[in-house]
């Protein structure tokens, strides 16, 4: 079954996270990316394909080479998803900080 990929599939795999970190720094060819990994080139190109399907890659042709760079707007989606959750937890734990500080005072 074909399902539409989303960005969280992209970051669910450690190799893909490593690729993201690499191309976040500068555009790279598939071969240059593959050189950073011990796995086969086919395995790396599979990962690149997933990243492309998640719209995380920008492709640029220079001569005969294709360079991949990171679509930063897409990465922002992860932050957008995480921030509300994080804020909820922060607020809750800040309340717990106060409760603990009162408990410590009462103990003294």
């Amino acid at each position: 079954m074909e399902t539409r990929r989303d960005i969280f599939q992209a970051i669910a795999d450690p190799t893909r996270r490593a690729i993201i970190s690499l191309i976040a720094l500068h555009a790279m060819t598939p071969n240059a990316i593959a050189e950073h990994f011990n796995t086969s080139r086919q395995a790396v190109s599979k990962h690149i394909k997933v990243l492309a399907e998640c719209d995380l890659l920008t492709q640029e042709e220079r001569g005969r080479e294709i360079y991949y760079s990171l679509e930063l707007k897409k990465i922002q989606e992860i932050e957008n998803w995480l921030n509300p959750l994080r804020q909820i937890w922060e607020a809750q734990f800040n309340q717990l900080d106060n409760v603990l500080s009162n408990m410590k005072k009462q103990k003294k």
Partner: protein, 165 residues
Amino acid sequence: MNNNLQFDMTVDKAAQKVFITRQFDAELSLVWDAFTRAEILDQWVAPRPWTSRTKRMDFKVGGQRLYAMVSPDGTLERWAVQEYRSITPKTHFALWNAFSDKDGNPEQFGSDWDYTFSEEQGITTVRITIYNESLARMEKQIEMGFREGFAMSLSNLDEFFAQAK
């Protein structure tokens, strides 16, 4: 909050898991009590101005906590039930959490919560793993929240929080 205290939250959406690590400036026995005693839980788990009210709590394996998040005017109650699955005193406990009716009859889908406690030099670290059987629902609630602009103000998070908990 003391800025030296660690707070990390990561999500493995494929595995439907949320990992949270938080340090507290208190000894382990206090933090343990704060997570395992009803009268203390009720002081902090609800997002203000909502309040938490525990109807009953039996902290033992197979025991339950039935509680409600109550709206500021007292008219809205969101009930949830937790069942303790394993307990190692002052080290670890696990529970299953689900929304319920006021008698504690759970909805079909819930979430598994795993808590680990450790202390070093008076700082207690709590690690929480949440496995949500319906992350899609949680996600939808977050999106709805965004539309309401709730990211702007914590006070608007109330209802979502009551549901997310």
